[in-house]
Symmetry: C2
Subunit: 329 residues, 2 copies
């Protein structure tokens, strides 16, 4: 009934537990005979190493904590990121513990958890500028990386992200190439990398034509896309294209455009960002920018593992996006 320990394996194989530990950890210096005897004993007894004991003596946690900030919006992209992270960490026998840092109490909990040595590293997700947790975590002397840049802390928290700015440039260039002349933009919140950098990319291409009149700020939600579009139409009734920094906001813009009697894409072209599940649900389907989410997650984990392995610094990385052309532009 009791779970077999390393002693049981040693006894079954007729070898000392030290040698069993050695084969468990892939040490060289163990004779072929001993190795196969032990491997058979492990199979027979169904032995599985006790992580608590191992981590206790090794002074490690054996896990990485992924910290979700709680944004007011739903991000369907989380699942891909989580999946990928689990996979990559699993290869190194690290488990992924999830935590939320939505309010102060939760931030305190995360901090205690990390300070208590319960994690070997921290994986930040969608953390916004000024989050108090960032500095305290970094100060705790534990490896911290972020999936997506942390605005204002780009230098201190390594990250992997998609090339937000380049992606926005792709979209802006595409709209221009299709002959659009008055192109507006609905940005994300300006304390997020997606909010700031997608606007930068837009401005890179449009130059002085990206006037303040043509810019509205949203908060990633459908509703904010609707109202931003309404304001833009009021200010610039003859605009012929709009680039929303997310598909969800683009779908909001579509609603407003339809209500105003504008045809898409004939009168107004609409571009989105993310290539989320919403992109193909709208009418017309959205031309959008796809992020390589799996790759971004994989790279983020790679950075974290490097830090855990002792690297004293690693370089952040931006991965290229791709333009997905559908009917809206």
């Amino acid at each position: 009934m009791k779970r077999p320990t390393i002693h049981d394996v040693a006894a079954a194989a007729g070898i000392s537990r030290g040698t069993v530990s050695r084969v468990l950890n892939g040490d060289r210096y163990v004779s072929p005979a001993a190795r196969i005897a032990i491997e058979r004993a492990i199979a027979e007894t169904g032995y599985v190493v006790n992580r608590n004991a191992r981590n206790l003596v090794r002074q490690r946690a054996g896990s990485v904590v992924m910290v979700l900030s709680e944004p007011p919006f739903e991000d369907p992209n989380y699942t891909t990121t989580i999946r990928t992270a689990i996979r990559r960490l699993g290869e190194r026998d690290l488990s992924l513990v999830m935590m939320i840092a939505g309010d102060d109490r939760e931030r305190e909990q995360v901090l205690r958890y990390v300070r208590g040595g319960h994690a070997d590293g921290v994986f930040l997700l969608s953390t916004h500028a000024g989050d108090p947790l960032v500095d305290t975590l970094h100060g705790a002397g534990i490896p911290v990386v972020s999936c997506g840049a942390v605005i204002g802390r780009e230098a201190v928290i390594p990250y992997a992200a998609c090339d937000e700015r380049g992606g926005a440039r792709q979209m802006a260039e595409y709209l221009v190439s299709r002959g659009r002349r008055k192109i507006a933009m609905i940005t994300g919140p300006m304390d997020t990398p997606g909010g700031i950098q997608r606007l930068e990319g837009f401005a890179d291409v449009l130059g002085r034509k990206a006037s303040k009149k043509l810019i509205e700020h949203g908060d990633w939600t459908h509703a904010s896309g609707e109202t931003a579009m309404a304001r833009l139409l009021e200010r610039v009734p003859d605009l012929d294209a709009v680039f929303a920094a997310s598909d969800v906001m683009a779908s909001g813009a579509l609603h407003t455009l339809r209500a105003a009697g504008r045809r898409v894409p004939e009168d107004v072209a609409v571009g989105g960002f993310d290539d989320s599940s919403v992109a193909i649900s709208t009418h017309p389907p959205l031309t959008t920018v796809r992020q390589p989410l799996g790759d971004v997650a994989r790279e983020t984990v790679r950075l974290l593992l490097a830090l855990i392995d002792g690297a004293d610094r690693v370089d952040s990385i931006a991965l290229p996006t791709s333009l997905i052309v559908r009917d809206s532009a």
Copy 2:
């Protein structure tokens, strides 16, 4: 530099480590004087209990593993479920470890993890009928619950879920009450509770009018919604309503209907299920059935905790859904 241990706290408070352990675990039988001395020492030293040591001696894992099956589709609902679960488990100082069981290798990994005593309980998510993991996990003698019923194992794996059948009934009744006469349905895969039970609820209301001609099966994807709708239109050109078992499939149906020149809702009413983010992105916005995702997750955790605490059986529960009326029906 080194993390303070219980010995350091004991020394700082001038009390033995046994007593420190007692206040840590809320034992009665500790004098007020000792308690405050120790509490101050804990605060001063910044002591946090070492979970590995604690769990080692307690023979527990201190965590619950959430197992994601890998379905071919994206489920934006995961995040809500994960969030809620983390919250409730956190209150009991249990951490949430995520694992994926998409292929055999991963299932093996989950099994080893659980068999190795690395988890105190298992939280299944979106597991489909016939998943080999279910029986082996249950056989491992560890508490297992599921968020959403596991088809074919309802009796052995306790679960919390929304009232799928009742929700479908709500939608069907609503369509009938609006005067619709030829109502078709696009179901989910018939090895999932959402696939089976939503069809049952539909049949409950329509009775013999729910003929085979009016039923098509999808796989939750947008594309499957499109093709299912096309087949239905071919078979029953004069249908005046369609109920899709998910919003995503409903959005696929909308595309096909539009391409066929049908107006929604004038010619054909469309109903969805989930009230996901796509429900408000479509044109027209979807009338749909909302699941109380947070409550479902909370109840699932409650069941799991009860089992972990030693209950030998708990009762599964179904939570009521609500009809969200928008423009599509």
